[in-house]
Symmetry: C5
């Protein structure tokens, strides 16, 4: 899985039929360097079934494993959000902690 | 999925039999940086069943998931266009909006 | 497989159901250059079933093969720790040797 | 699929049994930039069943899809040439046209 | 497949059960540039069933195809050596020729 930040959404009306209705989000990939999140150049589009919102950090699963959710089964989808991240720690260092609403 | 722009097409007469008749497009991969689309060096060749045209932005699915369309089933194809993009938003910022014909 | 160093962990309460209970670790990818381990920019999140601890070097399997453990079967997981590394050698050069507890 | 140029061949006598007899070619990956083919650093080895020759541009399929040809079925092969390219166009610009023999 | 050079080995006692007994080698990935082998930064760990030795150039298959050998079937392994390279040619140029023992 990779760490991503939801930055936006994609609208597409002309789609492969099985993809219709699938919520598609823009996800910017992140690495961690020296205990801090660092943005990478990569922008992916991932399916979302968890209701992830803009600005949230998420875990993205790629490849055939992205089809192992109820909603993406048999769908030509290669990236899906499998978790909304609450926190990331390195030892006692708190790399990230989600702000409460 | 990744964001791509259709830039052209590929002609190949000598092909694996199951690939014959499959429309193959040149797709340039894009990322989003500071709210704007940014071209990457990567050029992919993707199968198209949606009638995507040159200049349009599309969503491309890779890997085994690229075989999950009626036309690419059991075909040695690892990239397929699953949607033609109408718009991409980041919050209130409109990253891309397709021009009407 | 790639060489990774466990650097931390990820907490996520809102998850795809089959991922619930899966231990998710931050893993920094490494290469070897001139006989020494060299950190790469890439940070992955991998499932762990071996009890790997922070600071340990591990082997990470990606893709559909990451689902071939008892715990990750049918789970939308694309990276799993398959071994904790004790040592790496290049000829007579000891690239890495795990410190005893 | 990616665009590749056949640059040579690989000889290997000690092989996994199912790979024996499979023709293995060196393929240099290419992108397109400003309407021209541009070589990338990446060299792949791909199975060939079409009789591709040195200097020819080809389409290469990767991953599990590379096993979907008669010759590569059940073979531990992750890249196969699925087409010999005759031409590539971007609008009215001819990016590449194969020379007649 | 990619071209790799066996540079060493990995020792790991704490492993996923199906991986136990699998020989794991350090493989440095190579490209070819201007007719010569050129090392890349990437270090992979690949399963070996052919008895490849340090210093030898090998072909490595990745992904689900890496499980298509007798030894790696159903094993969470994503890279396997499928051939020991004897020679690589580009036209009349000999890129590599294995030294006889």
């Amino acid at each position: 899985m990779f760490i991503g930040k939801v930055t936006g959404s994609v609208v597409s009306t002309q789609k492969i039929e099985s993809v219709v209705g699938l919520k598609l989000l823009l996800v910017q990939a992140y690495n961690i360097k020296n205990g801090r999140l660092e943005v990478t150049p990569r922008t992916a589009v991932a399916a979302d079934t968890l209701g992830a919102g803009e600005g949230e950090f998420v875990l993205v699963t790629q490849g055939s494993s992205a089809r192992l959710t109820d909603r993406t089964k048999n769908v030509p989808c290669d990236a899906v959000i499998v978790g909304i991240i609450d926190a990331m720690q390195e030892g006692t260092n708190e790399v990230y902690k989600k702000q409460k609403d």
